[in-house]
Each structure stands twice: as structure tokens, then as C-alpha cells.
């Protein structure tokens, strides 16, 4: 899918277009700093286009709002919009000046965009977007099927949450975080690993929600993510000094001390995000309470 071009982008030396010149962005010129990195915009537009084409063709064949409902499409659109806010709007450029802005961007990438996009049912839209021949070829491809089987465990809640958790913690080590700020390719890799692992994580919850048997693992994954994310954010909030010296006194431009900027960043990471995971977990738990048919012995002669 579109992930591939992004990976290729990383492999090409010197190709990474700085989303800004890395210089501080103040309140007066913030609206002039839009980021149009073709390596990010192209796959984004491609993905949105495929989804739109899929939905249009599906609706043309099944009827308006059939197959993928209107609210789902609205959710996808909202996700797409937020993704644009995160990666194209001045928020991206501001991330070099304010840790808070950078953190908001990350929170959008891991906790807001993925659930919105996935609620839009992109998996259902994609087959309709592709030419029939491609679809058939993909269906027949033994290689794809093998790849699917080999990577299936990554779509189980606990492995996905573990992977996502590792990405979240590793990138906050000062050396890596600052390396991403210095080098645009590393920066893209950082965002990519946040976003891809978050998509895996949220997709694993979506899949797990289909059966009550997989719900406990999904709820555990959501809770553990909330918990360790909380630990990480507390470390950032309570640090008595700036952890990422790269920012220096850039936040002064916005009337915010470096430490206050860091605390705000930690709080945004900790508090609102926790509520996202909380809602997700409660929504998953609600599925336990759907009335089930009464137990019938006749259906069960043997325990397994």
C-alpha cells in the first residue's frame, strides 16, 4: 500500500524535504509554514483517493450508504482531515519550536487518526477501488497469503500493543528524539513508526471486537497502553528540567518557558490520550453485555 513509497523515501538519500527550514516559528508567521513533503503528501492523497473511489463504486453498485454507512465515511473523512492537520498544517513546522506542538502531532497520529480512519472501513473500500484484475490477482497470490499468515500475529491485540509501546518509549529517549529533530529522514521514520504501529494496534482492537472470545485481550491491550503511556507522560510532566535540550529557548517565542512547554506536552500526552483509551476499552467492554442466548445443554455434549 502507500506505506511502501514512504519507506522508499527514507532510503533515498537527500530526498527528504525539510518540512520547514528547522528555524523557530513564531506566532506571527506560523500560518506561512505549511509542509508539502511529496513523500508524505503523495501516499496520503493516494490512500484517500483509493478510499473515495472504493466508496463511490461500492455505493454505485449497492446503493447510497450501503456496505459502508454514511457515519463511517464521515469518520474516515474526519480522520483524513486530522491527518492533514497533523502532517501538512503549520502544526508540523511548529513541532520544531514547541515540544507541545510536536506532542499534539504525535497524539493525533497515534490516538486520533487511526481509530477515525479504521472506523471508516478502509478494508471494505479497498477491493472496490482496485481494478477487478488486480483484485483477482491479489486474491490468488500465494505470496500475499503467506505474508498475511506470517504477519497475522501482529494484528492480535497484545503483540500489536507491545510493538506500539516499544515505538512510543524508544523514540522518547533523548538521543533518538533529538536525532529525529535534526534529521528529516529520521523524523519521518519516527512518525511512520508511530503511525504504522498505532494503525496495527487500533486495527487489532477492531478485529478483536468481532468476537467476545478476543475481547479480554483487546481490553487488556488498551488498558496496558493507557497505563504505560501514563507512566511515560508522568516522567515528562514531572521532570524538573528540559529533557530535550535541542529545543533550547525556542518556546520563548510563544511566551512559554522551556519547562512549561515540556510539562504541557506531557499533560497532552497523558490526560486527553488516556481518555481515548478509556473510551475504547469501555466500548469494547460494552460488547460483553450484549444479551446472549440462554445456555442450552443440547448444544453442548462435549466441552470443547
Amino acid at each position: 500500500m502507500w506505506v511502501l513509497p514512504a519507506i522508499i523515501a527514507l532510503l533515498l538519500p537527500g530526498n527528504a524535504l525539510a518540512h520547514s527550514d528547522g528555524l523557530p516559528v513564531g506566532p506571527e508567521d506560523v500560518w506561512h509554514h505549511w509542509t508539502f513533503d511529496p513523500w508524505i503528501v503523495t501516499p496520503m492523497v493516494l490512500a484517500f483517493g483509493l478510499y473515495a473511489r472504493g466508496v463511490v463504486r461500492l455505493w454505485a453498485s449497492a446503493g447510497l450508504g450501503r456496505g459502508i454507512s454514511m457515519p463511517r465515511v464521515a469518520s474516515y473523512a474526519a480522520g483524513a482531515l486530522v491527518l492533514i492537520v497533523a502532517l501538512v498544517s503549520p502544526l508540523d513546522a511548529l513541532g520544531d519550536t514547541l515540544l507541545t506542538a510536536h506532542m499534539i502531532q504525535h497524539v493525533l497520529l497515534v490516538a486520533v487518526v487511526p481509530p477515525l480512519l479504521l472506523a471508516g472501513g478502509p478494508g471494505a473500500a479497498l477491493p472496490w477501488a482496485l481494478p477487478q484484475r488486480t483484485r483477482r490477482a491479489m486474491g490468488r497470490s500465494a505470496g500475499l497469503r503467506l505474508l498475511g499468515r506470517r504477519t497475522a500475529f501482529l494484528l492480535r491485540p497484545l503483540p500489536a500493543a507491545a510493538l506500539h509501546g516499544v515505538a512510543m518509549w524508544v523514540w522518547h529517549a533523548p538521543a533518538l528524539y533529538e536525532a529525529a529533530l535534526r534529521n528529516e529522514a529520521i523524523h519521518t521514520l519516527e512518525h511512520l513508526s508511530f503511525f504504522v504501529t498505532a494503525m496495527l494496534f487500533w486495527q487489532s482492537l477492531v478485529l478483536a471486537a468481532r468476537s467476545t472470545a478476543t475481547l479480554p485481550a483487546a481490553i487488556a491491550a488498551g488498558f496496558l497502553t493507557m497505563l504505560h503511556g501514563g507512566f511515560l507522560s508522568v516522567l515528562i510532566i514531572f521532570a524538573p528540567r528540559p529533557l530535550y535540550t535541542w529545543y533550547g529557548d525556542r518556546s520563548d517565542l510563544w511566551g512559554l518557558g522551556a519547562l512549561a512547554d515540556q510539562q504541557l506536552a506531557g499533560l497532552i500526552m497523558g490526560v486527553p490520550t488516556s481518555f481515548v483509551y478509556l473510551f475504547a476499552c469501555v466500548a469494547l467492554a460494552a460488547r460483553f453485555l450484549v444479551p446472549t442466548p440462554p445456555y442450552r445443554m443440547a448444544e453442548q455434549r462435549s466441552p470443547i
Partner: protein, 861 residues
């Protein structure tokens, strides 16, 4: 029996399946001698051996009794405190004893009364409510009870030697570290409470597995009693919250004993680390106490109003949401520790959010009361009293969640008033309601309605007189934890009123004890029956084996909705009407839809369990009073008795590997893998240890953010990279051997079981070697644990892993011993499965520690 009948109700809030009559699996009359056999199998031991009883009807009642005892004791301490404060400059007790008294009052009420009490009620009630014969690990609950009771009693007696802790119930360092608290008073707290928390965790594991795996067939999660839901969330919260306090007490005790400076600011520690760990436990603790009580209320209100609970689903979701939320809010106990100002708004707002799920429950109760016909009996009085007091406590809670107000009221009697309203309202009143409500299930006579109303009015008026007044005393500026005050402050009258009120509460509790003495008659093999016309399973006719047969459930209030249920259950027309395996047994069901999976053979009375608890308590007591040799002996004895007790707990399949429980449903008598109850318990244990480990990792990073300068910047202060790589390789190799052992075990007995044994034995030196390499690597540098916060936390991680690996080694050797005695094979492999799960987890944990300790400092740039 009550003559009221159940009429209608809110149909949409419940699953009613009256139109689908249950097919009864067994026919009557039952064979001769079946009931006698069942009775005989479940008979409690007689005479002195009575103490070795393990089943929940005994242990649960003892457990409740012990918690009640500590409630009375801590209440007596409160009365001494109140007497001392009744007049200005009163000289009943000095300041040191006063400090010990308030520390002990708070500590006992929280750790020896509130948590054990709700856990005890769970041990007693849950199998009754889910029609299981017992909890899945009866000996574990017996162990938890005895450890708690013996340890708690020893802890309390420290007061008589002037050795009781005196640093406040939250024991903040640096006051409680070796410099300012050189006596062993603080050690009593740290070891005593740390130990009792371990018993609480043991109970929580039991409760989680019990709720998920031992239910009446058909009692799917959407039909689970609210109380079971509340206890499930309660126990899960213990699993995640209590490890934090265990970590904190461990660190502080090590700081006191070996001078590893975790909390000493001059040496790169930080006293705030204690506060974070303490409140990461302490905030959920509030809900740990409240949720079970709320769960009880949700059971009692529908019965007293004779109508199903309004909004069952919303209430369950509110309980779940409360559980989640409580882990995000610990910081609001630290508003005055100099937190970043910016953060206060966020945490203040988040604190308010918990009002939503609490509000949902309160409105559900009110709506249930409004939609039914409330019977004004004693439990109802306590329930209404609970609503009144708890809502008032909630209101002052909103006040102290407002940061500027909290700055003013902090550490004054306003806060004392607030949390007594919350805790007495939120926990004590529901518990008293529960005593009156559920006593008829345990006792051959219900408690007295007349005395009960006296108890209620004395307590209700007493609580309000005592604590409402304290709001005003606090606003007038009287600080907490001062043993006296001068008359000019003008606090004398208010204090006198509070003291009089507290005597009223004391009198109320005294009358309750009289009522118990007069009417409470447990262990008689009979009970007073369904006196309130309740709808849930604990009101089925029962004896020590619980219900004669295990019913199929199609509704949330089966007694109301399934006609003739009690009669059919008692006649043995449902599942498992006798002791089919020849011993104690119960049906294990699937965790979500409660379909029968297998028969669990339950263990019976056991002395080793009691002795293991006794020696564990002696071990901790010995450490506290610095008698190290006796402590060591007790420790070894405790381990020996635990192993003795465990030796019989993996019985393998019964004589008949499969048993017909009725209606042609044939269940195996032994199970391994993810369906088995022991697999679930092991997973929960892994969550517990994982949380301890996470707290240590948090401590590592927290100390780094505070004192980055003491972290090694480059290679020379860190061990050579070869050490951790060697350790990692040994870890992985040991895991591989365990994996290989598991593969080979699947082939036994076709092939020799020696490869399995050899692999298990070889894995032990490998994993011990891994930890040794890590420690040697650290020793090869200049860093020592007493040097700095860095040294302390790095060595602490290794020490924890060392402890872990020792446990794993014992488990591996135990598994080998099982194999050598022919108790381990392809089928009977639970022991191996547990070892194998824990082993891989331990290796993963060791690898994470290596990455943090050796790679993170190299990423500091």
C-alpha cells in the same frame, strides 16, 4: 420467608427468558446415599482440626470476623484520639503515642479492615452467588486469610511495645527513612503492610479466577451479578495497584536496612518517588474499597425494592470506567507538593471526570428505589444512610478537587471530615447493610431488626455529629496530626462535639457486637433462608457444599424468573448432584458465556497451608525485629510447607477421566492449557509481577529525570557491553531449553522423560548465570548501590531479577521432582505449563531490564 412477591419491573433492563423453560439434566429420585456422600466429602474437620478448614464458607466467615475485629480495634484507637482532643491542652496521652495512634488508626482501617473486609466478603459471597461449590483455589484463600490474620495481629501488638509506626499512614520519606526514624517502628509498617498486601494479592488472584471460571452454567457476562462485576474490577485493580505499594515499601525498607538512597535527595534519590508510587496505589485504593461496596449496594437495593436494578448495563460500564479512571488520577493527592502549576488544571478536570460513573450508579440506585416498593428493613436504613453520607462526602470531594480550595484545606480537619464521609459513607455503611442483609445466608438466625435500627441510628447520627463538625473545625484552621491545641484557638467546643459523636458511633458498634453475639450462628449446616425474597443464587438452599446441584441460569435474578428453581436445585435435578469424582469438586466454566468446560477437583482441609502462613508471618516479623536467624529458619519452613501444600494440588485426572454431570453432559476431570484455571491464575500472577517490574523501571527513569548528572554519560562508567550480551544469550538459551523440555514432554511416555528433566535442570544454571553476569558486570564498574540513586536503582533491578530467577529455579527443580515421582506426563502437565509460562515471562523481563540499564544511558547523547 417473606410474603412479598415479585411483581413486574423494568423489563428492558434485564434479560428475561421465562419463555424458554430449562430442561432439567438429572431426574429424581436421586440414588440412595448420593446426598450423604456429598455431605461427607464437604464436612468440615472436627475439633482442633477445624482450623485447617479451607472452604469458603469457613474461611470467608473467619476472614470477615478478623476484619471486623480490626475495625473494632482501630475504632477503639480513634476513641482514644478523640478523647485526647476533646479539650484544649488535654493530657491523656503524649505526642509520641498520639502519633502512633493516628498512624495505626489509619493504617489498620485501610489495610487491615477495609481491603481485607471487602475481599473477605468476596471469598464468602462469590461462590454462593455463582453457584460454585467453592473458589478454585481454596487453600490459597486459607493461606491469604491466615497470613493476614497472624501478620495483622502481630502488627497491632507493636502498639503495646511503643514500637508502632508513627510516620502517618502514608509513611512519607524522608521522615520515615533511617535518618529521621531510626527505630524499628517504621519497619513494622513496611514489612507488616508489605506482607499483608501480598496476602491481598493472593486473594485477588483467587477472586479473579473464581469469577471468571467458576460460574453457574449459563451465567454469561451479561447475566453476571453486579457484585461479581464489581469484585472482578476490584481484584484487577488490586493486581495493578498493589504492586506499586509493594515496590515502594521494598525500596524504602532496603533504603533503611542497607542505605541504598532511593529517596534521599542529597544522594540523587527523590522523596517524591515515594509519593508517586504510593499514590499510584493509594488512589485506586479508594475505589478498591468503594467498588465492592457499591457492588453490594447494587445487589441489596433491588431486593429491598423488589425490582431489578435500573440500568444494569450502564452500572457495569460505570464500574469498569471507574476502574480505568482511578489509575489516571493519583496525582490529585499531590496538589501541594509543588507540582507544575500547569498540570493542576488537567488533573483537576480529570478528577472531576470520576463523578460521572459514580453519578450513574447513584442515579441507578435512586431510580431502582423509585420504581420499586421499598421495604424499610434494617439493610434499607443503612443503604439510605450510605446514600446520604456518601453524597455529602462526594460534594466535599468536588470542593477539594478545586485546586485553590485544596491549598487552603490541605492538612486541616476539613480533609479529615471529607475522607471520613467518603470512606464511612462509601464503605462502612454498605458493609453494615451487607452484614444485616447476608447474615441469613451464613447464620441459622437472622440478625435482630430492633437492635439493627438502634445500631443504624446511633452510627448515622454519630457520624454526622462527629464529622460534619470537623468541616468547620478544619475551615477554622485546625491542622491534622497535632496531639493538642490551645484554648485561644477557639476549637474546643467543636472538638468536644466531635468527641461526643464518636462515642455514639462506638456505642452503635457495641450494640452491633451484642446483636452478633445473640443471633449470629454460623457453621451449623443450616441457614435462615431467603428472608428478603431476593432473586440471586446465594439465596438458594445451601450447605457447606453450597447448592445440592449446580443450576443452569437464564436470567440475572434466577430465583425471581425461573419457577421452581430452589426446589429443583435442592432435589438434585441440575448438574453434579453428588460427589462424582469421590472428592470435592466444582464445575469450571468458560469465562465469557459460562459453558461448562471441566470438573475441577478441589483440595480439602490442609494443615500445611496454615503452617505456611504462620511461618511466612514469622519470617516477616523476624525481619522486622531483626532476629535474622529465626527469620531465616521460618522462611525456609514457610517455603517447605508451601511446597508440601502444592505437592497435592496437581492431582491429574480422576479415577474416571470423564464424568457425566447430568443430561448426558460429559466433562473431563483434568484440563491443561488456556482453558485451565491454573493457566488463568498464572497469567494474573504475571500481570502482578509485571507491574512490580514496571514500577521499578518507572523508578529508574524517574530518578534519571530528576538527577541526570549522576547517570553515566559514556562507556567507562557503564559495564563493558560483553556482560549484558552474555547475560542475554544465557537468558535466551535457558528459555530455549524450557521450550525444548515442553516439546519432549508431549512425547512422554512413548519416549524417555529424561530429555525433559535434563533440559529443565540445565536451564537452571543458565538463568542463574545470566543474572550473575549482570551483577558481575555492574561490580566491574565503580558504581555501588549505596553511592547514589543511580547505583541503588540499577542494583535494585538486578536484585529483583535475582529474586525472580531464584523462584524460577525452585519451580524448575520442583517440576523435575514431579517428573521423577511420576507426577508429570503428557496429560498431567499443569505444573510444567506454569513453570514454562513464568519462565518465558521472567526471561523477557530480564531482557527488558538489560536493555534499559545498558542501552538507555548510551542514548543520552
Amino acid at each position: 420467608m417473606s410474603d412479598t412477591t415479585y411483581e413486574g419491573g423494568i423489563a428492558d433492563t434485564r434479560a428475561r427468558q421465562q419463555d424458554t423453560p430449562v430442561h432439567l439434566p438429572n431426574s429424581t429420585p436421586r440414588p440412595e446415599g448420593e446426598l450423604e456422600r456429598l455431605k461427607q466429602v464437604w464436612r468440615a474437620p472436627r475439633g482442633f482440626h477445624f482450623l485447617s478448614a479451607v472452604n469458603n464458607n469457613y474461611v470467608g466467615v473467619w476472614y470477615v470476623g478478623a476484619a471486623l475485629l480490626f475495625f473494632v480495634l482501630a475504632g477503639a484507637l480513634a476513641l482514644i484520639i478523640r478523647t485526647q482532643l476533646a479539650q484544649p491542652e488535654f493530657r491523656l496521652i503524649g505526642h509520641d503515642l498520639y502519633n502512633q495512634l493516628f498512624t495505626m488508626h489509619g493504617t489498620i482501617m485501610m489495610f487491615l479492615f477495609a481491603v481485607p473486609m471487602v475481599e473477605a466478603m468476596g471469598v464468602y459471597l462469590l461462590p454462593n452467588m455463582q453457584a460454585a461449590r467453592d473458589l478454585p483455589f481454596p487453600r490459597l484463600s486459607a493461606y491469604a486469610f491466615w497470613a493476614y490474620f497472624i501478620g495483622g495481629t502481630a502488627f497491632f501488638t507493636s502498639l503495646f511495645f511503643g514500637l508502632a509506626p508513627n510516620g502517618g499512614w502514608f509513611m512519607y520519606p524522608p521522615l520515615t527513612s533511617y535518618k529521621y526514624s531510626p527505630g524499628i517502628n517504621a519497619d513494622f509498617w513496611l514489612l507488616g503492610i508489605g506482607f499483608i498486601e501480598i496476602s491481598a494479592i493472593a486473594g485477588a488472584i483467587e477472586i479473579i479466577v473464581g469469577i471468571l471460571k467458576t460460574r453457574a452454567p449459563g451465567q454469561s457476562l451479561d447475566k453476571l451479578p453486579i457484585y461479581s462485576w464489581a469484585m472482578l474490577i476490584f481484584a484487577l485493580m488490586i493486581v495493578f495497584a498493589f504492586p506499586a505499594i509493594i515496590t515502594a515499601t521494598l525500596l524504602l525498607e532496603i533504603e533503611r536496612a542497607f542505605h541504598w538512597p532511593f529517596f534521599i535527595a542529597e544522594q540523587g534519590g527523590d522523596p517524591l518517588l515515594w509519593q508517586h508510587l504510593f499514590w499510584f496505589f493509594g488512589h485506586p485504593e479508594v475505589y478498591v474499597i468503594f467498588l465492592p461496596a457499591a457492588g453490594m449496594v447494587s445487589m441489596m437495593v433491588p431486593t429491598m425494592a423488589q425490582t431489578p436494578l435500573s440500568g444494569y448495563r450502564l452500572v457495569v460500564l460505570a464500574i469498569i470506567a471507574t476502574g480505568f479512571l482511578s489509575f489516571g488520577l493519583w496525582v490529585h493527592h499531590m496538589f501541594t507538593t509543588g507540582l507544575p502549576t500547569l498540570s493542576l488544571n488537567f488533573f483537576s478536570a480529570a478528577s472531576m471526570a470520576v463523578a460521572i460513573p459514580s453519578g450513574i450508579q447513584v442515579f441507578a440506585w435512586i431510580s431502582t428505589i423509585a420504581s420499586g416498593k421499598l421495604q424499610m428493613r434494617t439493610p434499607t436504613y443503612f443503604l439510605l444512610g450510605f446514600l446520604f453520607i456518601f453524597v455529602l462526602g462526594g460534594l466535599t470531594g468536588v470542593m477539594v478537587a478545586v485546586v485553590p480550595f485544596d491549598w487552603q484545606a490541605h492538612d486541616t480537619y476539613f480533609v479529615v471530615a471529607h475522607f471520613h464521609y467518603v470512606l464511612i459513607g462509601g464503605m462502612v455503611f454498605p458493609i453494615f447493610a451487607a452484614f444485616y442483609y447476608w447474615a441469613p445466608t451464613a447464620s441459622s438466625r437472622p440478625l435482630s431488626e430492633t437492635l439493627g435500627k438502634w445500631v443504624f441510628w446511633l452510627m448515622f447520627i454519630g457520624v454526622n455529629v462527629t464529622f460534619f463538625t470537623m468541616h468547620i473545625t478544619g475551615l477554622m484552621g485546625m491542622p491534622r496530626r497535632t496531639y493538642t491545641y490551645i484554648a485561644e484557638m477557639g476549637w474546643g467546643t467543636l472538638n468536644m462535639i466531635s468527641t461526643l459523636g464518636s462515642y455514639m458511633i462506638g456505642l452503635g458498634v457495641l450494640i452491633f457486637l451484642v446483636d452478633l453475639a445473640k443471633n449470629f450462628r454460623p457453621f451449623r449446616g443450616e441457614n435462615a433462608g431467603n428472608v428478603w425474597n431476593a432473586g440471586t443464587l446465594e439465596w438458594l438452599p445451601s450447605e457447606n457444599y453450597q447448592t445440592r446441584s449446580i443450576p443452569i441460569i437464564t436470567s440475572r435474578e434466577p430465583i425471581w424468573d425461573q419457577p421452581n428453581l430452589a426446589e429443583d436445585v435442592k432435589a438434585g435435578r441440575y448438574f453434579l448432584p453428588g460427589a462424582q469424582t469421590g472428592g470435592r469438586e466444582t464445575i469450571i466454566t468458560s469465562p465469557i458465556d459460562a459453558r461448562p468446560q471441566y470438573i475441577l477437583q478441589l483440595p480439602g482441609p490442609s494443615w500445611p497451608t496454615v503452617l505456611a502462613a504462620l511461618f511466612t508471618a514469622c519470617f516477616f516479623l523476624g525481619l522486622t525485629i531483626k532476629l535474622y536467624i529465626p527469620a531465616l529458619v521460618c522462611g525456609i519452613l514457610a517455603i517447605a510447607f508451601v511446597i508440601w501444600w502444592l505437592w497435592g494440588s496437581d492431582p491429574g485426572p480422576a479415577v474416571d477421566p470423564e464424568i457425566d454431570v447430568g443430561g448426558g453432559l460429559v466433562l473431563p476431570t483434568y484440563m491443561t492449557g488456556s482453558m485451565s484455571h491454573s493457566w488463568w491464575a498464572m497469567i494474573v500472577l504475571i500481570l502482578v509481577t509485571g507491574t512490580v517490574f514496571a514500577c521499578l523501571i518507572f523508578s529508574y527513569f524517574f530518578l534519571w529525570t530528576v538527577n541526570p548528572d549522576i547517570w553515566p554519560r559514556s562507556g567507562e562508567a557503564l559495564p563493558w557491553f560483553g556482560w549484558p550480551i552474555g547475560a542475554a544469550l544465557l537468558y535466551v538459551a535457558s528459555s530455549a531449553l524450557i521450550w525444548f523440555a515442553g516439546r519432549r514432554l508431549s512425547h512422554v511416555p512413548e519416549r524417555s522423560s529424561w530429555p525433559t528433566r535434563i533440559a529443565l535442570i540445565l536451564a537452571v544454571p543458565l538463568i542463574l548465570g545470566a543474572v550473575s553476569l549482570e551483577v558481575l558486570g555492574q561490580l566491574s564498574t565503580e558504581v555501588r548501590p549505596t553511592d547514589s540513586g543511580y547505583g541503588a536503582v540499577v542494583y535494585m533491578l538486578s536484585s529483583f531479577q535475582g529474586f525472580f530467577v531464584t523462584v524460577l529455579s525452585v519451580m524448575a527443580l520442583y517440576t523435575v521432582a514431579r517428573s521423577l515421582t511420576g507426577r508429570l506426563n503428557r496429560v498431567r502437565r499443569s505444573t510444567f505449563d506454569n513453570t514454562h509460562l513464568f519462565w518465558h515471562y521472567g526471561v523477557a523481563q530480564g531482557l527488558v531490564a538489560l536493555v534499559v540499564v545498558h542501552i538507555f544511558p548510551r542514548l543520552l547523547g
